[in-house]
C-alpha cells in the first residue's frame, strides 16, 4: 500500500529506454521444440532393460561381481561364469544354508545401500557447490545394476525397502544418463527429486552411519 502511494513511475524517457534492455529476438521455436522432443525421447529409452550390460570399469565390474555373488547366495541362486545370476529350479526345504544365504543377502544389501548413500550425498554436495564429476554417471550405472539385482531378491518382500529400491532406481538412472549437454539442467531436477522423495533420509534410516545393518528388515 505504502509503496503504491510513495512509488512513482519512472520518467517516460527511462521507461522507453528500458524497453531495449536485452530486447529479445524472435524465439527459435522449432529448434527448441525439436530439442525438447529429442531430450524427452532420449529419456524414454533409458536402458532399463534387465540383462543389458553397460560398459564397466574393471574395478567396478569386480565390485559388482562380488555383490552379485552375495545376492546369488542370498537368493539361493547359482551364477554363471560371467557372474550373472541363474535361477535355481528348486530352492528345497528351509535349511541351515538358508540362514547363511539370508545373512549374505542382508550384508550385500546393506553394503549396497551404504555405498549408494555415500554416492548420493557426494553427488548432492557436488551439485550444490557447482562442481561436476564426469565419474558420477559411470558410478551411478554400476550402482544401478546392483540395485536391479537386489530388487529381484527376496529382500523386496519388505515394502519399505522395496519402495526405496524403486526410488533409488529412478534417481540412479537419471544420474547414469547425465552427459555434458544435460548436466546443468538435469542435476537440479535430480536433487529436487532426492529432496522430495527423501531418499537420503530413508537410506540413512536403513543404514545408520558407520554400521551396515544386517537385521531382519534387510
Amino acid at each position: 500500500m505504502k509503496d503504491d502511494q510513495m512509488d512513482r513511475p519512472l520518467d517516460e524517457w527511462i521507461t522507453d529506454a528500458a524497453q531495449s534492455y536485452h530486447e529479445p529476438p524472435e524465439p527459435p521455436k522449432e529448434a527448441m521444440w525439436q530439442a525438447l522432443q529429442n531430450h524427452r525421447r532420449a529419456r524414454h529409452v533409458i536402458p532399463l532393460r534387465r540383462g543389458r550390460w553397460v560398459v564397466w570399469s574393471t574395478a567396478a565390474a569386480a565390485a559388482v561381481a562380488v555383490l552379485a555373488i552375495g545376492i546369488a547366495i542370498g537368493m539361493g541362486l547359482q551364477t554363471d561364469g560371467a557372474g550373472n545370476p541363474v535361477v535355481a529350479v528348486d530352492p528345497g526345504p528351509v535349511t541351515g544354508d538358508d540362514r547363511t544365504a539370508s545373512t549374505a543377502l542382508a550384508i550385500t544389501t546393506a553394503n549396497h545401500l551404504a555405498q549408494t548413500e555415500t554416492f548420493l550425498s557426494l553427488f548432492r554436495d557436488e551439485v550444490r557447490s557447482g562442481d561436476r564429476s564426469d565419474l558420477a554417471s559411470a558410478t551411478a550405472r554400476h550402482l544401478l545394476a546392483t540395485n536391479r539385482l537386489i530388487s529381484d531378491t527376496p529382500v523386496t518382500a519388505d515394502p519399505a525397502l522395496r519402495a526405496l529400491l524403486a526410488d533409488l532406481e529412478l534417481v540412479l538412472a537419471q544420474i547414469a544418463q547425465l552427459s555434458g549437454d544435460s548436466w546443468e539442467g538435469e542435476t537440479d531436477l535430480i536433487t529436487d527429486g532426492l529432496e522430495q522423495s527423501a531418499v537420503l533420509t530413508r537410506l540413512q534410516g536403513l543404514v545408520p552411519a558407520g554400521s551396515a545393518r544386517t537385521g531382519s528388515s534387510l
Binding site: 509503496d3 512513482r8 529476438p25 531430450h39
Partner: protein
C-alpha cells in the same frame, strides 16, 4: 487473495489434463501458447540468445515433468513463469560461479574499459544500471516495467508476496533514478 484474477482458467486445466493424458497435440499447443513469453523472460534476464534458448528448453522440460503438480491455483502462464524464473536464476547462479573461478583472467583484463571509454549514451548507461541492480530488484523491474507482468504474477512466479514485489520495484526504480541522476541532469541542462 485474488484468485479470480490469478487463478487457472478452465482452458488451462483442460489443456493440462489433455497433456497428462498423453495427447501429443495438446503438448504442442501448450508449448506454442507459452513459448514466446517464457523465451522473452529468459532472454530479458540472461541477455544471451544461447542461454535464453537453453533456459527456455529446460523450463519446458521441467514443466512437462512436473505438470501433474499444476493445481490450477494460478494461471498456467504464471506457473510456467515460476518454473522459468527458477531455471534462469539457477542457471545464472552457476554461470556466475563459473565465471568467478576465472577471476585471475578477469582481474588482469580491464574489461570495463571499452564501455567507459565510449562515453555511453542513455541506453547503455541505463542497461548497465539495470545489470547492476540486485537480482531480486532486477527481476521485478524487468518483469513489471519491461515485460508488463502484474505484481500478483510476479509474486507467484518468484514466491514472494505482491506487496514485496511492489516494494522491490519501488527500490529498483529508486536505484535507477540514482544511477541516472547525473545523466538526466546533463540532459536537462
Amino acid at each position: 487473495m485474488t484468485r479470480s484474477i490469478t487463478g487457472g482458467t478452465a482452458e488451462d486445466r483442460q489443456l493440462v489434463a489433455e497433456v497428462l493424458a498423453g495427447d501429443a497435440a495438446a503438448e504442442r499447443r501448450l508449448y506454442d501458447a507459452h513459448v514466446d513469453r517464457v523465451y522473452r523472460l529468459a532472454y530479458r534476464l540472461s541477455g544471451d540468445p544461447d542461454l535464453a534458448q537453453e533456459f527456455t528448453q529446460e523450463a519446458f522440460i521441467r514443466a512437462f515433468d512436473r505438470l501433474e503438480t499444476f493445481r490450477g491455483d494460478a494461471r498456467l502462464s504464471t506457473w510456467l513463469c515460476s518454473v522459468a524464473t527458477s531455471v534462469v536464476f539457477n542457471g545464472l547462479r552457476k554461470i556466475k560461479r563459473f565465471r568467478q573461478r576465472e577471476v585471475g583472467l578477469d582481474a588482469a583484463a580491464p574489461q570495463a574499459a571499452p564501455r567507459r571509454e565510449a562515453d555511453p549514451d542513455l541506453k547503455e548507461r541505463l542497461h548497465a544500471a539495470i545489470d547492476d541492480l540486485p537480482r531480486g530488484y532486477r527481476a521485478v523491474f524487468v518483469m513489471h516495467d519491461i515485460e508488463g507482468y502484474t505484481h500478483d504474477e510476479i509474486g507467484t512466479a518468484l514466491g514472494i508476496r505482491p506487496g514485496t514485489s511492489k516494494a522491490q520495484l519501488s527500490r529498483a526504480r529508486g536505484k535507477l533514478r540514482q544511477s541516472l541522476a547525473a545523466f538526466a541532469g546533463g540532459m536537462a541542462g
